[in-house]
C-alpha cells in the first residue's frame, strides 16, 4: 500500500468487499457461521481421539477458488513427548 492510499482501510468499498466475501461464502455453501463452528468442533473431536492437537492453532475455513468453495484445514500436530 503506497503513500497515496494511506487510510485505505477506512474506505467504504473495502468494507463492502470484506462483508460480501463473508456473505457469499455462507450463501454458496448454505452453511451458517454457527454450523461451521459446530462442524469444526466435531472434526477436532474425531482427530483428537487419534492424535494430540492444540485446538488454538487449528484453522478450518472455507475459501473460494474462482466459483468453487474449498474447505481448507491447517491442523498442526503436537510434538509427541518422547521419553
Amino acid at each position: 500500500m503506497g503513500f497515496w492510499n494511506r487510510g485505505n482501510q477506512s474506505k467504504s468499498s473495502n468494507t463492502a468487499k470484506e462483508r460480501l466475501k463473508f456473505v457469499l461464502v455462507h450463501d454458496r455453501t448454505d452453511l451458517s457461521l454457527e454450523k461451521l463452528d459446530q462442524m469444526k468442533n466435531e472434526i477436532l473431536g474425531v482427530i483428537s481421539r487419534y492424535i494430540e492437537i492444540d485446538p488454538d492453532l487449528v484453522v478450518i475455513d472455507i475459501q473460494h477458488d474462482g466459483r468453487e468453495q474449498k474447505l481448507i484445514a491447517d491442523i498442526p500436530i503436537k510434538n509427541p513427548r518422547r521419553k
Binding site: 463492502a16 462483508r19 460480501l20 474462482g66 466459483r67
Partner: protein
C-alpha cells in the same frame, strides 16, 4: 442462418436489465445485425417505452403463443434501424401464460432468420426467469457495484450454473467513476474477484441514460456519451471483439492518475 439467443437477467430488480437489453440491441443493430428483442417481463411491459415503440403495439407475445396472430405480426419494426424488432410483453396477462417450451419454440423460429435474439428477463427466480433462460445460448447477468446487487447476482449465477446454462457473463452497470476513485464504490476488480465470472460490459452511471429514456431514443444511438460508448463497446464484445475495459478509467482526472501511479 442460425442466430444466437442471449438472455439478460439479474438477481435484484432495477439494476438496468431493460436498459442493457435495449441498448445492446441498438448497438448490434448499428453494426448491421438483425436483432429481435423479446420482452420477457409479462405483466410489467417496459421495453416498448424504453425503445420508444409504445404507440405501435397491436399484438404481444401471449397472442403469438396462444395462436391469435403469427409471430411476424407481433414483431414491431424499429424505424431507426433496418433490422431491429420488438416482440412486446403482454401487459394484462400473468407470467404463467407462457411456458419455457413456448419460448424455445418461438426462439427456434426467429433464429432461422435473425442474428440475435435478446430476451429481457424479469428479476428474481420465478416463472418469468425460467421462461427467459430456457432458450438461451448465452446468459448475461447485470449487477450494480453495491452489496445487495452483488449478493443477489451471486445467487442467480449459482442458479444458472445449476440449470447447466452457465457460465454466465457479467455486466456491471451504473459505475460512478468519482466514487470509485475516492474508494467509496466497489471497483470492477472487486466485483470480478467476488463473482468470478467473465466481465463483458462496464457501463458508467450517466444522466444521459435517463434523458434518452425520457425521449424514447436509446442512448446507444449516441456514441459520444459515456454510456452510449460503453453500450457500443458491449455490442462489440458480444460479437467477439477484444475491447479493453476502459469505460470508467478514462474519466479519471490528473490527480487520480497520479494517485494510481503511486498506489
Amino acid at each position: 442462418m442460425t442466430g444466437k439467443t442471449i438472455t439478460i437477467t439479474s438477481g435484484k430488480g432495477g439494476v438496468g436489465k431493460t436498459t442493457v437489453t435495449v441498448n445492446l440491441a441498438v448497438g448490434l443493430g448499428l453494426r448491421g445485425k438483425k436483432v429481435v428483442c423479446i420482452d420477457g417481463d409479462i405483466g410489467l411491459r417496459n421495453m416498448d417505452v424504453i425503445l420508444g415503440l409504445e404507440n405501435r403495439i397491436v399484438y404481444d407475445i401471449v397472442d403469438v403463443v396462444e395462436g391469435r396472430c403469427r409471430l411476424k405480426q407481433a414483431m414491431i419494426r424499429d424505424k431507426r434501424l433496418p433490422d431491429l424488432f420488438l416482440v412486446p410483453a403482454s401487459q394484462t396477462r400473468d407470467k404463467n401464460s407462457v411456458t419455457p417450451e413456448d419460448m424455445i419454440r418461438l426462439c427456434d423460429e426467429i433464429k432461422t432468420e435473425y442474428d440475435y435474439i435478446l430476451i429481457d428477463s424479469p428479476a428474481g427466480i420465478e416463472q418469468g426467469f425460467k421462461n427467459a433462460i430456457a432458450p438461451a445460448d448465452q446468459i448475461i447477468v447485470v449487477t450494480n457495484p453495491e452489496v445487495s446487487a452483488v449478493r443477489d447476482a451471486d445467487r442467480i449465477i449459482g442458479l444458472i450454473e445449476a440449470e447447466e446454462k452457465g457460465p454466465a457473463s457479467l455486466i456491471i452497470n451504473r459505475m460512478n467513476s468519482a466514487m470509485v476513485n475516492r474508494g467509496d464504490m466497489l471497483t470492477q476488480d472487486d466485483v470480478n474477484e467476488l463473482l468470478a465470472i467473465d466481465l463483458i460490459g462496464l457501463i458508467p452511471e450517466d444522466e444521459n441514460v435517463i434523458v434518452s429514456t425520457n425521449k424514447g431514443t436509446p442512448i446507444a444511438f449516441e456514441g459520444k456519451t459515456k454510456a452510449g460508448r460503453a453500450f457500443q463497446n458491449l455490442a462489440a464484445r458480444v460479437e467477439g471483439e477484444a475491447i479493453p475495459f476502459n469505460e470508467i478509467e478514462e474519466k479519471m482526472n490528473f490527480l487520480d492518475k497520479v494517485r494510481k501511479l503511486f498506489g
